[in-house]
Symmetry: C2
Subunit: 306 residues, 2 copies
């Protein structure tokens, strides 16, 4: 089934304790599309780039089945650029540079063929832009998921709350859930956030895994313990892309179905952090993904205790 | 089967954002014994107290089947006392007062009937005292587990490394594993620590669950997401007591058996934090424990993904 995604397609310059990436391809929609492409061949991307973005990267996305009809290319302008440096131990990062460029006045325009889709993944962006995408949909999708960040809670909380009302699944990290709800306990935070509109909440906890709150039900998927996290950039977007891509594949939006989607997203995210940027996501295949998912299953399976 | 435990039996004075406990009963061996008693009725306790310790508390332990023949009572002396205050959000605590009292010159003496046991849980104490217990054992137990803390890594690393060489399972938290190994990645930390002697390592991650490293195998058990953590004191000891108590019950020291022991320990720890001190541990019963373990199982179970 079809998955529409909106988000940045951009350049990153990343420095980690393991080295410098230089200027590489990044952006939420890039990671989401790559990840989702391992589960569904009908990904529709809406974004904006300048004329500085390499055609070869667009070709690679199209080869994965990603429909780029909704990708605006602004002649004479530059793509969004972010530079950051991770702290030792990867438990934080500093932004060194942010150049909005084409993103400054981005108005997402959905091609006609994008207006009737099964699933939507709104990557982290200005809440008003996320809302503009929802407004253009002609039929109600089966599910709309949204990612956001602390920054929008600080500067555009009203717009964010308005768009959150319109969605089915919010996918954020633990710090964001705490800020949005004003609650430290993630269980209480989830109750408050579900009261804001979305029926379902996914809280990403990085190396500590992810929580799924689905009505009265809670599922906790641990993250794979890794020897080394080479570059965490895009792991959250990859998780979201894998999660929604898996749902687009199975069409199963029950609690049981979403649990499996969480594991699928976690498996893809565990690949993402192994190399700089999207590199590792471009190198895996179905067999490696299957093996990784089986490692996840093995990590948490146990027999009945009593 | 029998479980020998050594550790403090003491008084705590705890303040959390939810209130003040006043002077209440605490100590690693107290928590370990209470927790283990839900799985095995043959717990042998080695510790020391002053004549200020309430007989009624000792009676309650004996009623749970805890053998107190190895508990020294020092006339005219005072029991170990610790006072602490938790930070808002419970993510740290300050020690306000520590009075060693009878612990200052504690020499553990094992009664004859304690020298041949199946399992041993050495609670957090001076590494030399832990070693003295091992030296008095007449037959090699099936498993010796040990808990320790950063403090001993700072002030008695040599003694600690010597006792770690003699044990089978080390049970510590993530920060302690990082300090002991000098590695940030818990996977690399586990490799180094297993190289120090213990075949098995359990890393407690508090609200993020626990990891079991058993040879080449890794198991990750999440913690139950809780609305409220009322008092975290003793949760780690309760986990260790439940873990070893479950193994003493089943006699199963395989990877599969220890996974279940991790879940059993986690379930007991999730009770412990609901009230001050040992209060909640004294109120549960087999039915409540079974229900809690089933909640854990439900929290992490999912169908095959692919």
């Amino acid at each position: 089934m079809s998955l529409l995604t909106v988000g940045t397609v951009a350049f990153d310059d990343i420095e980690t304790p393991f080295g410098k990436a230089g200027k590489i391809v990044g952006g939420a929609a890039t990671y989401i599309s790559w990840a989702a492409s391992y589960f569904t061949s009908d990904v529709k991307l809406v974004s904006v780039i300048g004329d500085d973005f390499p055609q070869s990267e667009l070709d690679r996305l199209e080869a994965r089945g990603v429909n780029l009809k909704g990708l605006q290319i602004k002649e004479g302008e530059k793509s969004f650029f972010w530079a950051g440096k991770y702290h030792t131990n990867m438990n934080g990062r500093d932004t060194l540079d942010t150049q909005l460029n084409v993103l400054a006045d981005f108005d997402p325009i959905l091609p006609e063929s994008f207006k009737n889709v099964d699933y939507v993944m709104l990557g982290n962006l200005t809440p008003q832009v996320q809302m503009r995408v929802i407004e253009q949909l002609e039929a109600q999708p089966k599910l709309i998921a949204l990612d956001t960040m602390n920054f929008w809670m600080d500067v555009a909380l009203g717009d964010l709350l308005a768009v959150i009302k319109k969605i089915d699944i919010l996918i954020i990290n633990d710090e964001e859930a705490r800020q949005l709800s004003g609650e430290y306990s993630l269980v209480t935070a989830a109750e408050k956030i579900i009261g804001m509109g979305p029926k379902i909440l996914v809280i990403k906890k990085g190396e500590h895994g992810a929580l799924l709150f689905h009505g009265e039900n809670i599922f906790y998927a641990p993250a794979l313990p890794l020897k080394e996290v080479f570059d965490p950039t895009g792991a959250g977007d990859t998780f979201a892309g894998g999660f929604m891509g898996y749902i687009a594949k199975t069409g199963d939006t029950t609690f049981e179905g979403m649990k499996k989607a969480i594991v699928a997203g976690s498996a893809l995210a565990s690949f993402c952090v192994e190399k700089f940027g999207i590199q590792k996501l471009t190198e895996i295949n179905d067999q490696l993904l299957t093996e990784r998912i089986q490692r996840f299953e093995k990590l948490v399976r146990f027999d009945t205790v009593l």
